[in-house]
């Protein structure tokens, strides 16, 4: 049941990154990072955003995978925080 919900929400994330403003996808992914254990799809979502829309930014030294890198950091921070807070049920 949990896996079916997860797959359904993965599809929702994909549709949101194609149809909704990018910050809504980030918000959705952030919630799902807390809801599911090890929500690796967050990193995939970041990579898809970069694949679909990215352009090199000189203020980032021409770096193009900003959302991929951001999602890796977000994933790491959330997973670390999960182990440190009492109210999160592992």
């Amino acid at each position: 049941m949990m896996i079916a919900t997860r797959i359904l929400l993965d599809v929702a994330v994909f549709i949101s990154l194609v149809l909704l403003p990018w910050w809504m996808t980030v918000l959705l992914v952030f919630v799902l990072l807390w809801y599911f254990p090890h929500f690796y799809e967050a990193i995939v979502a970041g990579f898809i955003i970069d694949s679909l829309y990215s352009a090199p930014l000189s203020s980032f030294g021409g770096f193009q995978l900003i959302f991929t890198l951001g999602s890796v950091f977000l994933f790491g921070i959330v997973e670390y925080t999960k182990t440190k807070v009492r109210w999160y049920d592992n």
Partner: protein, 261 residues
């Protein structure tokens, strides 16, 4: 408290794995683009969803009957913005007239833009990098580097990546994009820097007079308009002023563009 050795090893490998992943991503991101085949694959997956989204957006007017007061207020605001955009579009007539006179003086004929009109599938607010995704690709004869217009003289950006059915457009207003521009009203050549969402800034000496709605063209032979002056920041004692420009159309509601040379 003692941490079991196995747990420590796992934690260490997770930390090193994470660092390796970050280094790998930074390495790929700095030295290369996302591979075209990967972008093409995700674009192919996204294409039907964009098509459905565009179709739903165009049919949304069927539900206008059920508009609330709030919706009407929003509509009012939107119409005001459209009127402002239309006024800005009209402002380019003065530039056209000026160029027409110059061209007559040099006995040259004006070159008109020939191009293909294509629908916009994704635009800023949805796209985080200030890029557009348009509904035409290699199958429609689109080529990398082609210019993207609105109307005959307003240029928004260039095609950066072409896929079979779609193409990615980088707007001149994308953050950090620098464009050589010419201010015909003050005969000044300078560089406009994109800051996103159809807005640019440029720094010119305070002594140069700039007015609201002044057109800003691309420097070069052909008449191509980048935007119009929106506001000017002048601090007392500063030798330079910051001029804010805006594209004449609202990038966030763009439905169609023209692709040409």
């Amino acid at each position: 408290m003692m941490i079991p050795r196995r747990r420590r090893t796992v934690r260490k490998s997770v930390v090193f794995g994470g660092i390796a992943l970050v280094v790998l991503i930074v390495g790929i991101g700095v030295h290369a683009q996302v591979p075209h085949s990967v972008s093409s694959f995700f674009t192919r997956l996204a294409y039907p969803v964009w098509e459905v989204g565009a179709s739903v957006a165009s049919r949304a007017s069927v539900f206008d009957v059920f508009q609330s007061k709030q919706t009407l207020s929003r509509e009012n605001e939107k119409l005001r913005n459209e009127l402002r955009d239309a006024q800005l579009l009209l402002a380019d007539r003065a530039v056209i007239l000026r160029e027409n006179r110059e061209l007559k003086a040099f006995q040259e004929s004006a070159s008109s833009t020939q191009g293909t009109i294509v629908a916009v599938l994704a635009r800023p607010a949805l796209t985080p990098y200030d890029t557009l995704v348009v509904d035409a690709g290699t199958h429609d004869g689109l080529e990398k580097g082609a210019s993207v217009f609105v109307g005959e003289h307003i240029v928004l950006g260039t095609i950066e990546e072409v896929f079979p059915h779609t193409a990615r457009v980088r707007l001149f207003s994308s953050p950090d994009v620098e464009t050589d521009v010419f201010l015909p009203e003050s005969d000044t050549v300078t560089v406009a820097r994109g800051i996103g969402n159809g807005v640019f800034t440029l720094r010119i000496p305070s002594a140069i007079s700039v007015a609201f709605h002044d057109p800003v063209q691309f420097s070069g032979g052909r008449l191509r308009i980048l935007g119009f002056v929106d506001s000017v920041d002048v601090s007392s004692g500063d030798l330079f002023q910051t001029v804010w420009l805006r594209t004449p159309v609202n990038i966030n509601t763009l439905q169609w563009v023209m692709i040409g040379e």
